[in-house]
């Protein structure tokens, strides 16, 4: 953390002082960071800033294999325990990890059990989209736009959520809008500028190559495929450092990098000047974190693979106190049409990585989980019956997880629609009893502090009466 502190004392606080401004009137993210660097303050709790980490299971996960309804006798009617069957037994070897007598975790998710026991993990079962689509493309689009069935919402709900919460933004926006109107600019341009002025470049960050749909919109968001390679890679000056950096090219502040920085620094009056300033600050910030040498706290062990890496880097950014408010990671391989296996097999392997990665993040963040909520989602579920190739096809409802100290945990929330043939959706799928927007909206409101839910979920009359009580009311 020392590097961070130094860096910001130098480029943050001192810069603020030298421009004759107290930190209190500077950008909020910088202000927080300066405060955060003070030893006696918990960085993420500097102003009670909440953090939401979203994990998207792309490909439609079989929710009934994540949280197994072993107490519903129809489960074993639809899914076979015989060899080649995909059912998870109630007990014995490879059996479920019972949660409440009705539901049990898949044995590969065993690492989540202790979070459940802490009372910090809740599952929301039979959760999904009101849209009947079984297209991955459309269903992911809807879950990310937050407007199922409506193809005319252009931005993502996380982008709207982040604009809809903190009051600092509102104030600044009004200020900028006034200036902008005076200069006869569009309010949209003003919104964009207001959002970027106030925000830490890390406020909304996605550990992906492309910015996901869920974060696209007016609020600035940063897509970083990998912290270790983020930055200007000057091929002429850089050397490949093997070993500690895992074979990644070292990011160097070489001549070219400094040259670029100087070029953008002098380009005052150009919209690119601001982007340049932010970019180089973010770069130095990350460089200072030495992401290649990160050691997780409390012996947390992230599994190998992209998801573990992403979550570890999110933890690192959060601990560095750089102003993360919303983080996004994704994981694939859930589209198990064939040979998904039961207690072991291809789905079990995916679940093992998934559970282990979340557990590592939870352990690594430790006390900071007081301000963090982790939310998992997937575009739809899978058929209740297994198909001819030992897999499951595109279905309807699935299961989401929420994890955090403030989560109303140790419970399977929602309403179980049952698995009798007449209870199934279109005679094949688990029915949706919780609209995913009710979960998102509750997290947005109770955790992020969003007041105007209508602005985040257009055309949807959500509200506390529909909430599933995912977050404890304080």
């Amino acid at each position: 953390m020392n590097t961070t502190r130094r860096m910001f004392l130098k480029s943050g606080a001192i810069a603020l002082v030298s421009s004759g401004l107290a930190p209190a009137s500077g950008p909020v993210w910088l202000r927080d960071t300066v405060y955060a660097a003070e030893p006696n303050r918990s960085s993420s709790a500097a102003n009670g800033r909440k953090i939401l980490i979203c994990i998207f299971q792309r490909g439609a996960v079989d929710g009934m294999s994540m949280v197994v309804p072993h107490g519903d006798p129809n489960y074993y009617v639809h899914r076979s325990l015989a060899a080649g069957g995909i059912a998870i037994p109630r007990s014995g070897e490879g059996g479920v990890i019972d949660l409440d007598g009705t539901f049990g975790l898949h044995p590969a998710l065993s690492s989540l059990k202790s979070i459940w026991d802490d009372g910090h993990l809740a599952a929301i079962h039979a959760c999904g989209s009101p849209s009947p689509t079984r297209s991955h493309f459309d269903a992911q689009d809807y879950m990310e736009s937050g407007a199922p069935g409506n193809k005319h919402v252009r931005d993502g709900w996380l982008s709207r959520a982040i604009l809809a919460c903190p009051e600092d933004t509102a104030k600044l926006k009004a200020q900028v809008r006034a200036t902008a109107l005076a200069a006869q600019r569009t309010s949209r341009a003003a919104d964009k500028v207001a959002a970027s002025i106030n925000a830490s470049p890390f406020r909304s960050v996605s550990l992906t190559t492309q910015l996901p749909r869920i974060m696209q919109g007016t609020a600035e968001a940063l897509a970083i495929p990998d912290l270790r390679t983020f930055g200007v890679k000057d091929s002429a000056a850089a050397s490949v450092v093997a070993g500690a950096m895992g074979g990644h090219r070292k990011v160097t502040s070489s001549g070219a990098t400094k040259g670029f920085e100087a070029l953008y620094d002098q380009a005052v009056g150009d919209v690119l000047h601001g982007a340049g300033k932010e970019s180089f600050e973010a770069m130095k910030m990350i460089e200072g974190l030495k992401p290649g040498t990160y050691v997780p706290a409390r012996g947390a062990r992230y599994p190998r693979g992209k998801l573990g890496e992403s979550l570890q880097q999110i933890a690192q950014l959060i601990k560095a106190g750089v102003g993360v408010e919303v983080a996004f990671a994704e994981t694939g391989g859930w589209d198990t049409h064939a040979a998904q296996g039961s207690a072991q097999g291809s789905l079990a392997r995916r679940l093992q990585e998934f559970g282990d990665a979340i557990k590592a993040l939870y352990v690594d963040l430790g006390d900071r989980m007081a301000d963090v909520t982790i939310l998992t989602m997937s575009e739809f579920g899978r058929t209740v019956r297994q198909n001819g190739t030992g897999g499951t096809d595109h279905g309807h409802a699935t299961c989401f997880f929420t994890i955090g100290d403030k989560v109303n945990g140790g419970k399977v929330l929602g309403e179980w629609p049952g698995l009798a043939p007449e209870q199934l959706y279109e005679n094949r799928d688990l029915a949706v009893t919780t609209d995913f927007r009710d979960v998102f909206a509750e997290v947005a409101q109770k955790h992020l502090g969003v007041r105007d839910l209508q602005a985040v979920f257009p055309g949807y009359d959500t509200g506390s009466t529909k909430f599933r009580n995912v977050i404890k009311s304080t």
Binding site: F137, L222, D226, L263, H273, S279, A338
Partner: protein, 641 residues
């Protein structure tokens, strides 16, 4: 950006928001009076807008032939020889496939079970060819077949039918064929294939479609775009193909758009970019990729399914129904614009008119389905469309939309945004819209009215647009006089990957695409800068407001691209940046800068950029041409066009 950016004077004063001073989005910039561009600035401006930036020698060439003649030639691309680039892209074989073949190429990869079967088959064939034991098996099979043939002959003989030798051979062949089919049926059975999958499989095999090629086809499409943008002489045509392909946006990540976008680009967009808008609109409305992407292919009148023995309960259910998706985007995005003055009722009526507009999944062509069409009377924008019109209802809708004044305004605004400025002068928009209406939607005339207008050759338009990632990447290769190679067909483009059921997603971090030491292609670089080509999810396409491209992560990607490009680390691109400064003495720093700025920035670096660059040259050391070139290409000036 209304002020002349080429001066880049510090003009950020009136923003009083504390530290955010630094952000400077120039909202408060003083409105300097626009003056007409003169001399070479005019030529450079035209090359930056009508083309993807200048190539070495272009300015001199245009000066010599006259800007007017050059523009005229660009407006009439058929008069320009483009055989070199055509020969180059001719190696991209997927782009020449007929539509039915393109459709099958997708089908072969789209169905999980089918794909697994085809891959297993490919594997066993490969192994069969190499494996000696299998070869022996094959020999045994042949021997057995011969024995059976003998048996067959005896049987036939015993039937006392005298056959000629030829007939016998035919019988033998027939038997072999039957055996083969039986074996195949057994394999289909083992793989749990459904009857329709088997039919599909037979068509795939009959056409000789290789499984796994649909992703490569997308790569070829992307490559085609990049090669043409970089090297085609018909630059305006390529700029317009980019514009209209974006206007009628499709996303290759969605189902069969993956291969059918190839047909859309080739048969819908490209032939019509300088033609009549109505023809372009009509072609797009019948494009299977568009019909699929915006769901119109499944839009039908409501009807009740006939009773079947197997599904007695399902009989009562209403089947089908209108899908408004395409109708709405047709009005909102493709023609009238969101404020064009239509109502929700109009959208519904247009959707009804277009029911039954679908495509044939086998031959990959547009198909009107009379039984799915709502033949009732409709009213669209106040105009009655009488009952019983069939397919003509949709044509009538397209006629109404294509000639509507709101459409003229919307198209004119968008084109002016692309060619003039993010907030184009209303006089230019008005003139373009009038031209649209007077010329019956002649797109050549509309573009002509824009690029000959005073607003186009104005200081307020000069460098007023931030380049899109495509424009940035391509203009950098062009200004260095670089070439883009067309890869061999085995080249894996790595832009799309298939997920379990065969739907595609763009390669996300963590995979090969993200490994820092792997040379990235131009397409991958462009994607890293935020523009994965042909893969924009929403039907709006990329925004024409170029300020949307400004973001921190993307800027870093742009800087990395310039370093990779001059360092020879962009796969399949050759540039030679060292030649640029070869004959300039290393001690003459001013001369080095003059050469760089002349060749790369059209002599148009700000004083600040010049001063900063000067410090990058260490006196008494050999010229670091690569670094200086990368810095110049990464400068704020080169981000603009």
């Amino acid at each position: 950006m209304a002020q002349p950016q080429f001066r880049l004077v510090s003009s950020c004063a009136p923003i009083t928001l504390g530290v955010c001073l630094s952000l400077n989005f120039a909202i408060a910039a003083s409105a300097a009076p626009a003056v007409p561009l003169q001399g070479d600035a005019k030529i450079i401006h035209a090359l930056n807008r009508v083309a993807f930036g200048p190539r070495p020698g272009d300015v001199e060439r245009v000066r010599q032939m006259g800007l007017g003649s050059w523009l005229e030639a660009q407006l009439n691309p058929a008069t320009l020889d483009d055989s070199a680039v055509e020969a180059k892209v001719a190696r991209l074989k997927s782009l020449q496939l007929p539509v039915d073949h393109l459709m099958l190429t997708y089908e072969a990869d789209s169905n999980g079970a089918l794909r697994m079967f085809l891959q297993a088959q490919q594997r066993s064939e490969r192994e069969g060819a190499q494996d000696g034991a299998t070869a022996m098996d094959a020999a045994t099979t042949r021997r057995n077949a011969r024995n059976r043939n003998a048996l067959g002959r005896n049987t036939l003989n015993s039937n006392a039918i005298t056959e000629s030798d030829g007939d016998e051979k035919r019988t033998v062949r027939e038997k072999l064929r039957l055996e083969k089919e039986l074996a195949l049926a057994a394999r289909y059975n083992a793989a749990n294939l459904k009857p329709q999958q088997i039919l599909l499989l037979k068509r795939i095999e009959a056409k000789g479609v290789t499984p796994g090629t649909s992703v490569q086809a997308v790569g070829e499409l992307v490559n085609d775009k990049i090669v043409r943008a970089t090297e085609s002489n018909r630059q305006l045509q390529e700029v317009l193909v980019d514009f209209w392909s974006n206007h009628f946006n499709l996303d290759v990540k969605k189902g069969l758009v993956r291969t059918m976008k190839i047909a859309d680009e080739r048969d819908v967009i490209r032939p019509h970019v300088l033609g009549k808008f109505r023809d372009l609109l009509g072609a797009s409305a019948k494009s299977p990729a568009m019909l699929f992407y915006l769901d119109n292919f499944r839009s039908t009148r409501e009807f009740t399914a006939p009773t079947t023995v197997r599904r007695p309960k399902a009989a009562a259910r209403k089947r089908g129904g209108v899908n408004e998706n395409y109708a709405r985007e047709l009005m909102e995005l493709h023609t009238m614009g969101v404020d064009g003055g239509y109502t929700q009722k109009d959208v519904q009526e247009v959707a009804r008119c277009l029911t039954g507009w679908s495509f044939n999944r086998e031959d990959g062509r547009f198909q009107f389905r009379p039984f799915a069409h709502d033949n009732g009377e409709k009213t669209v924008l106040g105009q009655k469309i009488p009952t019983g019109g069939g397919q003509k209802d949709g044509e009538r809708v397209l006629d109404i939309l294509a000639t509507h004044s709101a459409t003229a305004k919307h198209i004119a605004t968008k084109l002016c945004k692309r060619f003039i400025a993010d907030e184009p002068p209303s006089a230019a928009v008005e003139r373009a819209a009038q031209t649209f209406l007077k010329s019956d939607g002649d797109l050549r005339e509309v573009v002509r009215s824009i690029v000959y207008g005073p607003e186009f050759f104005s200081s307020s338009a000069y460098r007023a647009k931030i380049k899109s990632p495509l424009e940035f990447a391509v203009s950098a290769v062009r200004v260095l006089g670089g070439q883009v190679e067309v890869p061999n067909p085995q080249q894996n483009f790595g832009r799309l990957r298939l997920v379990g059921d065969g739907s595609a997603s763009t390669a996300q971090g963590g995979g090969r695409n993200n490994r820092p030491n792997v040379r990235k292609s131009l397409a991958q670089q462009i994607a890293l800068m935020g523009q994965p080509l042909y893969a924009y999810q929403a039907p709006t396409g990329w925004p024409e407001d170029s300020r949307e491209w400004v973001s921190s992560g993307a800027l870093i990607a742009r800087l990395n691209y310039t370093l990779a490009l001059v360092g020879g680390e962009v796969a399949m691109v050759t540039v030679s940046p060292t030649e640029l400064l070869q004959d300039v003495p290393a001690e003459d720093r001013e001369a080095i800068l003059n050469r760089l700025f002349h060749r790369l920035l059209g002599n148009d670096a700000s004083a600040g950029t010049r001063a900063t660059m000067l410090k990058q040259i260490t006196p008494g050391t050999p010229t670091d041409a690569k670094k200086l070139t990368a810095l110049t290409l990464g400068s704020p000036e080169f981000q603009r066009r």
